[in-house]
Symmetry: C2
Subunit: 336 residues, 2 copies
DNA sequence: AATAACTGTGCAATCGTTCCCGAAACGATT
DNA sequence: AATCGTTTCGGGAACGATTGCACAGTTATT
């Protein structure tokens, strides 16, 4: 259907060989100025574009990188993607975005698909369901460059970029304490995720440093990371059935934070006097909420950029890289 | 770096020819059951995956489609993308997402890049800056299948999928009128966009059918579709300097609607008594706003699915398609 | 004038896969 | 015994681009 002209077409039309045309287009020194002009002019005329598949086949690289995130509708991830694209595109790489919707099955399928598509590297934030990472280890062992960001695994030794989740959680929880709340619940994504552990640590530290005890009845997990609204509703159900109700909740995730607000609204608890919420979120509309919401903002764009820079380092490295970095970027507390 | 095993490797290891291996893997009738089993077992063992670049080169197709939208952070587009992916992935196609950020320059760059990447087809919603479409016409004339959705051009003759923008605008404006408002302003994206024209029509129709006059001082455009916040602020400045202030505003776009709320908040006008807002938006958090916001919801997921189905029809057509459809899907008014 | 050096171009292999031919090997038919 | 058909497999070209090597033709050097 959509035929582009090839080097062969140009060679035939101009009575030259394909090698001469190729060299002329790459501005090789061995081609005379006259021939070069002839070729480049004609190539422009027929809209010549090198076939990327042929190049990829020859060079054994595709100049593309794969992204695996939970969902693009999440503002944290869409901002991270913008950061990734800003670097990747400027370096001539195409970006293929895939979504797991927090499902391990889809994560595996996406990763397999990207590998089969022969991407040059992978940028991943794990799904909420992902506990084991053998599907990634195998690819990594076979030499595929991978950089993790946000939700990172412990097992695989490569570059990892995260926000300072413990600090962010500590700040948010401390803020709730300073507002006078003593019984602060914590709702988080699945317990095994790195971000969940780190944010739990920050939450716990804030409580203990302020002389408050950690009540495990107040700590709830959502194994599907808020993709299933019923999950969140039953968590609230459990919290509301406690003999002593929490006064505030620290929520550890973008989607969860929004989900909590919805549940509170449904339960008719969405008013300043009933329960206070603070949570991780990169949404740009939080200031329009009522009651408002104190939030922890992650430098998603910067994280995306940094992750991409490190990935391209791996991809374009002349020799195998053995020293890996673990970068931790600062979060920001927006008090509302 | 990342080497997969090839048909050649398998052939060498098994003492067969590449043709035999290829045929065995494709379950050709000319290969004996024994050889087939030998080959498929070994292929599984070494994790054989056909090289997509080699396939693309041979088949002259890439099994990938390109998407061009304003930005994935927009809920309308992220929902549309989910619809697109649901169809494309199930049919074996990879999706490459690009963002214009409402810039014509980036739209041209993205389209060129996708064409050079030899995608099999294109799914586009035009940027706010796009007035002429020669960059698309050229590709379309050369045979690249394209389907437009949401923001569509008039010039190019192909499948086009939109929501019923006029109806949605009519409904929203009528609702504002029923609430008792008579002076209703209208803020829209750049005037030349199809969606802007259609939504303006619906707005105008609602006013005239209710015996209200159309005041052109009340109609404002944002040529950058809300990507530049100052643009929106100066629009408000102009509205607020009128001798007779509007009582309500109908906003014709997701990003613009959110932007308006921010400006109103900044101007301290975000309260139920000062000004009412209704607008197009697919955001899932509108019900958390205060004051709340009546919104027009577009069936973004369905639009994405439909657009993809029509695109795959074009891509996989045996003979050139000459009959094109213009599908218009219903919007939904959420009164809050 | 003979050789060397350089300039400009073509040939052919290569990347991984498919597919059109051709060709053994074997049994069946005449 | 010669022919035919089947089954099963291999050889090699093709897709588009790059690149080491070879080889004319020209100019410079001795």
């Amino acid at each position: 259907m959509f035929e582009s002209s090839t080097i062969k077409d140009i060679a035939r039309a101009l009575g030259l060989s394909t090698s001469t045309v190729s060299r002329a287009l790459r501005d090789s020194y061995e081609i005379s100025a006259g021939t070069k002009k002839l070729v480049t002019d004609y190539a422009r005329k027929v809209h010549y574009r090198p076939n990327p598949n042929a190049l990829s086949l020859k060079e054994r690289k595709s100049k593309s990188i794969g992204i695996v995130v939970s969902e693009v509708a999440n503002h944290y991830f869409s901002q991270a993607i913008n950061g990734i694209e800003s670097i990747a595109n400027s370096r001539g790489y195409t970006v293929i975005i895939t979504q797991t919707h927090e499902s391990l099955e889809r994560e595996i399928a996406n990763v397999q698909h990207l590998a089969a598509r022969s991407v040059d590297g992978l940028l991943i934030s794990l799904s909420a369901e992902t506990e084991t990472t053998s599907h990634l280890e195998e690819l990594h062992d076979r030499g595929l460059p991978i950089v993790f960001f946000d939700r990172i695994p412990e097992q695989i030794n490569t570059h990892k970029i995260t926000a300072d989740n413990a600090k962010g959680a500590f700040d948010a929880t401390t803020h709730l304490i300073r507002c006078g709340h003593k019984r602060i619940a914590h709702i988080s994504s699945s317990a095994h995720l790195s971000i969940s552990k780190e944010r739990l640590d920050g939450y716990t530290k804030a409580l203990t440093e302020n002389g408050l005890s950690v009540d495990h009845q107040y700590i709830k997990n959502c194994p599907h990371g808020g993709m299933i609204q019923e999950e969140l509703e039953s968590v609230f159900q459990e919290l509301m059935e406690l003999e002593v109700l929490p006064e505030a909740i620290f929520v550890a995730g973008d989607r969860l934070t929004i989900g909590c607000m919805h549940v509170l609204k449904k339960l008719n608890l969405l008013n300043p006097t009933s329960i206070a919420i603070a949570g991780f979120s990169n949404s740009d509309v939080l200031d329009l909420f009522n009651p408002s919401l104190t939030s922890v903002f992650q430098p998603a764009f910067d994280m995306g950029q940094l992750a991409t820079i490190k990935l391209l380092e791996l991809i374009e490295a002349k020799y195998p890289v053995t020293e890996f970095e673990r970068k931790v970027l600062n979060t920001q507390l927006f008090i509302r």
